[in-house]
């Protein structure tokens, strides 16, 4: 039954993808890509990836849609020119697809326990998580400790992308560019009572859920990346409902910039403590007398760092986009 449900969702996924590419209205395409994200999140959940499903739902369906829509507000929603060199592109795409499909015939079947990918380091991580960290969620253990270097790198990529967006959009738009098409609208949806009331009810719970996901990441699906996205989504919702200015009063730009740097620094510093105490970089065992306690403390600290940076970057990017049309 689960298999059939998966097949159904996957088929819907392909249909949605084709619709995204075919539609000439960019607004429709962005909305469809939100649906695409929710569908793929459901598929991830069916494939036992609860953490990934949570991330995809928060980021793909929530934040990505908002960012694309804020960009469309500045750009316009109509695709003007049709595709170019359709036949050549189709030929290349179909040839590559046939080659990949042919290659998949050699892949192990879905869920095959003897597949090479299941026999390498995966089982080792599962076996050692209770021994080294003694936390239930092995995804968090691998993310925070076993592969802490990777995650540090990812945090710095997020940081760099955030700085890049701020550089690109920090410079003022050409004078008079947006005056004709976009009236400054600082009020958000304040005049629409229903979304505003529903939003007011929801925002505290979304925030609470964000913090739960942050601090419960060792025990259930969750962690810094997901929590950062959920908290950012709550504040973006506040900005959409009450006006961007109100959101900026609550969390000023400078504070967000501080968050971005603070999170990455916290992560790096926890790594350095290991180094200074005579161990390896990002070795949390030395944070406490008991190595297992040290690992747990290290994971909580770096997850906090990840959450802080992700929240800061996503909110800064949103404000950079939203402020653009009003300059």
């Amino acid at each position: 039954m689960t298999v059939l449900f998966g097949v159904f969702l996957l088929t819907l996924l392909v249909i949605t993808a084709i619709a995204i590419v075919r539609t000439r209205n960019l607004f429709v395409a962005v909305m469809l890509s939100g649906i695409f994200s929710l569908l793929i999140a459901a598929i991830f959940f069916l494939l036992d990836a609860a953490d990934v499903a949570l991330t995809e739902a928060a980021i793909g369906a929530g934040i990505s849609t908002v960012l694309f829509l804020s960009a469309l507000a500045l750009i316009g929603e109509h695709e003007q020119t049709p595709s170019a060199n359709r036949l050549v592109a189709l030929l290349v795409v179909v040839t590559t697809m046939v080659a990949i499909l042919y290659a998949t015939l050699d892949k192990p079947r879905l869920g095959d326990p003897s597949a090479p990918v299941q026999r390498h380091v995966g089982p080792w991580y599962l076996e050692k998580t209770p021994e080294y960290m003694d936390i239930p969620n092995s995804v968090t253990a691998v993310l925070g400790s076993f592969r802490g270097y990777d995650t540090l790198g990812e945090v710095f990529v997020v940081l760099t992308a955030g700085i890049g967006v701020l550089f690109l959009l920090g410079k003022a738009a050409p004078p008079g560019y947006y005056k004709k098409t976009h009236a400054a609208d600082a009020g958000g949806l304040r005049h629409y009572q229903i979304p505003r009331m529903v939003g007011r009810l929801l925002i505290p719970f979304i925030l609470l859920f964000g913090f739960y996901v942050q601090f419960h990441g060792e025990y259930g699906p969750g962690g810094g990346f997901q929590a950062g996205a959920i908290i950012a989504a709550a504040i973006i919702l506040y900005a959409l409902l009450e006006g961007e200015q109100r959101a900026l009063t609550a969390l000023p730009r400078g504070f967000l910039l501080g968050l971005i740097a603070a999170g990455a620094l916290l992560y790096g510093l926890v790594g350095l403590i290991g180094l200074v105490s005579g161990g390896n970089f990002l070795d949390y065992s030395l944070l406490s007398d008991d190595p297992v306690k040290g690992q747990q403390l290290g994971i909580i600290l770096i997850e906090a760092g990840v959450g802080i940076t992700v929240t800061g970057v996503l909110l800064s990017i949103f404000h950079a986009f939203a402020a653009r049309g009003k300059s």
Partner: protein, 118 residues
């Protein structure tokens, strides 16, 4: 059920190529970025599919449960971070598109090239 054993991989191939088609054939820059996200999502699907173990569950231990099979946590970790990095790079792309629109007045590739050649 054996029939559907490779279905996830086939969908991966199709999604990958739909995204690729949008990147090479569409002239609108936003469409290209959406195509890139589809391409990315296809890769995510490939990784998560590989980590699934038959009869397994999400790799979160429960007290008192023994002999439970778990799916592979490693591909999940890689994709979890990749999703967040993906949105950051997409935002960077959108920032560039907005700047292009402001400088050129259009985000259609052909028109941008025409303006460049003047």
């Amino acid at each position: 059920m054996e029939l559907f054993g490779l279905y996830h991989y086939w969908v991966f191939a199709v999604l990958l190529m739909i995204g690729f088609y949008a990147v090479v054939a569409k002239l609108n820059l936003i469409k290209k970025l959406l195509g890139l996200s589809l391409f990315q999502a296809a890769v995510f699907l490939l990784y998560i599919t590989m980590g699934k173990v038959e009869g397994g569950t999400a790799p979160i231990f429960q007290a008192g449960v023994v002999d439970q099979l778990y799916s592979n946590p490693l591909p999940q970790v890689l994709i979890l971070t990749a999703i967040v990095v993906g949105i950051s790079t997409t935002a960077l792309g959108l920032g560039i598109v907005i700047r292009i629109k402001e400088e050129y007045g259009t985000i259609e590739e052909q028109k941008i090239q025409e303006i460049d050649q003047l």
